[in-house]
Point group: C2
Chain length 352, copies 2
């Protein structure tokens, strides 16, 4: 098949008429249908779902505009499923249902769309979630960059779970489930304009097994997945939200040698690069060992490199002058101290 | 303020760092926050919600790419709220919660974003829904057309409500809550390349009052809001889903004279133009009068022009040859019969 003959997305695929129906029936339904619970099959405007008794509902959304849409370790579809699954998981929810909405550029190759959809179906099965409703829009050539995806997600939260930054106390331990920055670096390098190749693959994965492994572990205060802005940005949210300082020990950070080497070469800090399969957790000091044991035992090695990377402390009060803002500090391997501030602009665009 | 000084969306507004936080705190939170139920205020990755006991959950999503983003009677924000509210309402759900996700083009004027956000907040208040979670991505100049919005919605469905096309029977009546096509025509004309001005405003509105007015009316089979593809496309979905023919009486159709005049001039059929504040309902023959009475009594005049526009009948079987596909027929004012087929391509792109 020559490039000219390749089936492509037409504006009509987004108009709600026959082409839209064809696309749904030939591409989306075969991948997203679940014969055991065929909620999506009637293509309802809204899926109707029964919440388990005694649970609360978690609800989240993310749009995905990653460039390029395909990168080592995944693609925009994998990311659209795991990103929303992970937002639910770190809220303490069991991820259950996803909506999927595509914005497609006229001329987008159908074969690529199908590859994305197939990855989404696989990622959804892996994560134990079901895609139950969706939407497709097509815009003219030039009005989007190929494919954008939005997912919204619903999960069930146990009645007795109350994580939050208001639960964080001085002395609490900061844990990281694995080395930071592989996703951001994989996407950055796959743009191909940096002139070198690398074996780095995105860490893109459902983190629900990491959350589930902590069921019954007391002393969990807060969890979040460090996506845009990376671990440093999540820790700044912890500092701002709790009013406490966060101290990170550089020597304790789990490290991927390939990511570190590329980061040194490019002059970027892996603590600011997006992860898509990592969890930052804050827990009581006497819970840290149990969290690390549980994470390291998760099948598949998702938490193999988990480490306690720092702690929370009362915000420093200077003898004179105004009280400083709560902040995040890195104790370097050489014994120095460096502020891990929130970056203002200059971040990598379209990393997820 | 000159055009150059006007604050604009920067790539940094989408990077999850300080500019993103500034945008959320200065633009989104002031509009979307609900002091009485401050679910959104902690900016959680996922909102946690308590479903009322004994209700089921409706879940839906739509992306909005309407061009132009501002049109007579509304803008992309109004549409993003009412579109998803309406998908919930016609599923029999009481709309409750929305997620909102923006894809913004670098350089998009902040003032326009704020106007959109303000419209969304107003539309949400009018419709009685709460925006509880969200996301913002920014893509480079040229990688989107200003602003795209996705909303996903959750609503509560009574346990005893079971609408669906499988409930439709021969003899059932087809009802339309008002004149068709104003939204599609308003957007089309506001593109400005047709060379004439008109007073037509989009019919964009929450249809939940129309659904709520039918509480306690027995014999409702099915409802849908005729958006992309218009009334004709919804009726084709009825025919396909029920296996029955649908007959529409042209003389019975409610009509907006301005829409009809513009449609004649442009050679388009209002039955194929998108509505954003209309409901198509199918009900038992003895329920039709009660539905019309209830709709016409809805405060604000949303159902003032409601009419019974046709009926459902057993699919015609020809004496010889294969059984024809279920179809939609229009009995014209002159006594002829015309097939209202599903259009294949050629629809107006980016109408919602």
């Amino acid at each position: 098949m020559t490039r000219e003959e390749e089936p492509r997305i037409l504006l009509g695929h987004g108009d709600g008429g026959r082409l839209t129906h064809d696309l749904i029936r030939s591409v989306f339904l075969p991948h997203f249908d679940n014969p055991a619970n065929p909620v999506l099959r009637p293509l309802p405007d809204a899926a109707v779902l029964a919440p388990p008794a005694g649970w609360r509902l978690a609800f989240t959304t993310d749009s995905f505009v990653v460039s390029p849409a395909f990168f080592p370790g995944g693609n925009i579809g994998t990311l659209a499923v795991t990103g929303t699954v992970n937002d639910l998981a770190v809220s303490g929810a069991r991820p259950a249902y996803l909506s999927v909405a595509f914005i497609l550029e006229e001329g987008y190759p159908l074969r690529q769309l199908e590859a994305v959809v197939e990855s989404m179906a696989l990622a959804a099965r892996d994560a134990g979630v079901q895609i139950v409703t969706g939407d497709t829009k097509v815009v003219e050539h030039g009005a989007a960059d190929g494919i954008y995806i939005n997912t919204a997600g619903i999960g069930w939260v146990p009645e007795d779970l109350h994580w939050g930054l208001d639960a964080v106390r001085p002395g609490d331990v900061v844990l990281l489930s694995g080395s930071p920055g592989a996703h951001g670096m994989a996407v950055l390098l796959s743009r191909g304009d940096l002139g070198f190749q690398s074996p780095i693959r995105s860490d893109c994965a459902s983190v629900f097994p990491l959350v589930q492994a902590l069921q019954g572990v007391p002393g969990i205060r807060f969890m979040r997945d460090p996506t845009r802005g990376g671990v440093a940005t999540v820790l700044n949210e912890v500092a701002q939200g709790s009013g406490l300082d966060v101290w990170v020990e550089e020597a304790a950070l789990p490290e991927d040698p390939a990511v570190s080497a590329a980061a040194r070469l490019l002059g970027v800090d892996p603590l600011y690069l997006a992860c898509e399969g990592r969890v930052v957790a804050i827990c009581a000091p006497d819970a840290a060992a149990a969290v690390l044991d549980a994470w390291r035992a998760v099948p598949g090695g998702l938490g193999r490199d988990a480490a306690a990377i720092g702690h929370v402390s009362a915000s420093r009060r200077l003898p004179l002058g105004p009280r400083p803002e709560p902040a995040v500090y890195l104790r370097t391997a050489l014994g120095g101290t460096r502020l891990l501030d929130v970056k203002s602009g200059g971040e990598l665009p379209r990393i997820c």
